[in-house]
């Protein structure tokens, strides 16, 4: 199998202006290929979960959509525009460890930074910018902490601030890199519920990197699975089958159901 060719391409209907399109894209660093021959089409309003082993290229794929990594070959367009000009339509939520909590900034200071590119060079934030930042903070449930230094927030609250910063620029697409990692179970549930609400209220297209299939399964329309430099996409019930997961991970995988939810358990790795 080569890239995602021949796989399910749901969302491929409609004009290119309503889709995120990867055409024969190869991604990597300094000549080293991480993902090859990616062909993907994601429709406006879709939610995509991205899963795969560590180092398989999940973050690389997200970064390619905001221009932090340029394709070694191929072409990426976001709603008909090349990535560089489409960046203002995309809100990026990086991994929480990248947040420098020692920086002297409050929640509001950090969230309004999401609008700085929109405001433009040499210009000061206007009332509209402050209002949008305030709205984004309220949307993630941190209105009372708006003037709290970021160093004083809990792990779950910091994750919400990162999401609010992405939302403050009124994006059409939100990319989230492991938003439920390293927070407690309650905070994980709250973040997933928050994403569900935001997607519904703002009609966002969501690409979400996660290690927890079970947690995000209810809110994604399709799943991208990555392994060995390849990208596979399909509906959750199609992708989360024992046969496909074993082929991708080259390991024993048990897919079971508990309390109406899919559970994926990866067992021994195959050798040779």
């Amino acid at each position: 199998m080569k890239g995602s060719r021949g796989m399910d391409r749901l969302g491929g209907e409609g004009p290119a202006g309503d889709r995120i399109v990867f055409e024969g894209v190869t991604l990597g660093y300094a000549g080293e290929t991480v993902l090859r021959d990616i062909d993907l089409e994601i429709s406006r309003g879709e939610s995509i979960g991205i899963i795969g082993p560590n180092g398989c290229g999940k973050t690389t794929l997200l970064k390619s959509l905001v221009g932090l990594i340029r394709p070694l070959s191929g072409r990426i367009t976001v709603f008909g525009e090349p990535v560089i000009s489409a960046r203002r339509r995309i809100g990026y939520v990086p991994q929480r460890e990248t947040l420098d909590i020692s920086y002297p900034a409050t929640v509001f200071d950090m969230v309004i930074m999401g609008r700085y590119a929109r405001i433009g060079l040499f210009r000061r934030p206007r009332d509209l910018d402050r209002m949008r930042a305030g709205q984004a903070i309220a949307d993630v449930g941190l209105a009372e902490q708006a003037h709290t230094p970021i160093a004083h927030l809990s792990g779950g609250q910091r994750q919400r601030v990162l999401i609010a910063r992405a939302l403050s620029a009124d994006p059409e697409v939100v990319l989230l890199d492991e938003p439920t990692a390293a927070v407690d179970v309650r905070a994980q549930r709250e973040i997933v519920a928050l994403l569900e609400n935001l997607k519904r209220e703002r009609n966002l297209t969501v690409l979400l990197v996660t290690h927890d299939v079970n947690l995000v399964y209810p809110i994604v329309d399709r799943i991208i699975y990555m392994a060995d430099g390849r990208v596979f996409i399909g509906r959750p019930e199609e992708m989360l089958t024992q046969e496909k997961l074993q082929r991708i991970y080259n390991a024993n995988v048990i897919v079971t159901e508990a309390d109406g939810r899919i559970c994926v358990i990866v067992g021994d790795v195959h050798h040779g």
Binding site: A30, K63, V66, G67, L68, I84, R87, R88, I90, Y92, P94, T98, L99, D100, Y103, P104, A105, T106, D109, M110, M113, G114, Y116, A117, I119, L121, F122, R124, P125, P149, A151, H152, R165, A169
Partner: protein
Amino acid sequence: MDDSLAQVVSDFFTFAFMQRALLAAVLTGTLCSVIGVFVVVRGFSFIGAGIAHASFAGVTLGFLLGIHPLFLAFLFSLLMVFLVGWATHRGELKLDISVGIFFAFTMALAILFIGLMKQYQAGVYGYLFGDILSVTSSDLWLITATAVLVLTAVGLLYKELQFVTFDQEMAAACGLPVTFLYYLLLVLIAMTVVVSLKSVGVILVFALIVTPAAAAYQLVHRLTPMVFVSAAIGTGGSVAGLILSYVWDVPSGATIVSLLTLIFFVSLWWSPKRRRCSCKE
């Protein structure tokens, strides 16, 4: 002491060199402490120290060739900025390693240039240790013009510098010109270092940049108040240090830096951040 202070006040009104020194203390104190805020929050302390030492190689070459020392100091500082930036981006070297290499190399050059001088040049040591009382009118004009230029750039690009020093990758993802802003900040640091050499010298200039900002960081939780508190500490400390050095007849640069360090320790002790940590424990 009272007589001494009255004498100092009288001297400030009587002697032009004292007025120039006071003005230089205010300008370099403000300039260094404002740019220092971005140095501290971005973690550029070591590269700043490297720039200061690179500038000394320029000063010594200036004396050797009979060219204005500050012109070559600025050229060497820029060279340091772009070599470090290039080595970090292209050679995949960590920033501290590339700074460490060029820091030592430029100091070696400075020693080499001093060795090549046919006669003893007292002026070189003036730039090494600084002498604010010897600031001339043309030095003062240079400091003023640079302060206006650097502070205007900081004012105009404040929000961009804030974003890029907070989270460079996210600033890039949002579409800000981060490479331009990265080098601009380094060039502004280089300009600040070079014009402060005459007042506080190569060895102490970086303390004037880092210490007021580090003290301010202990006291506030936001960048904008940090800029103002740092400027107040830097300016106040520089003026007070100048007066004390005159009263006690000791080197001005060392007195200013010692006073600023004392303020830093008081800030550290008084810091609401430290108290919060203690409460948590």
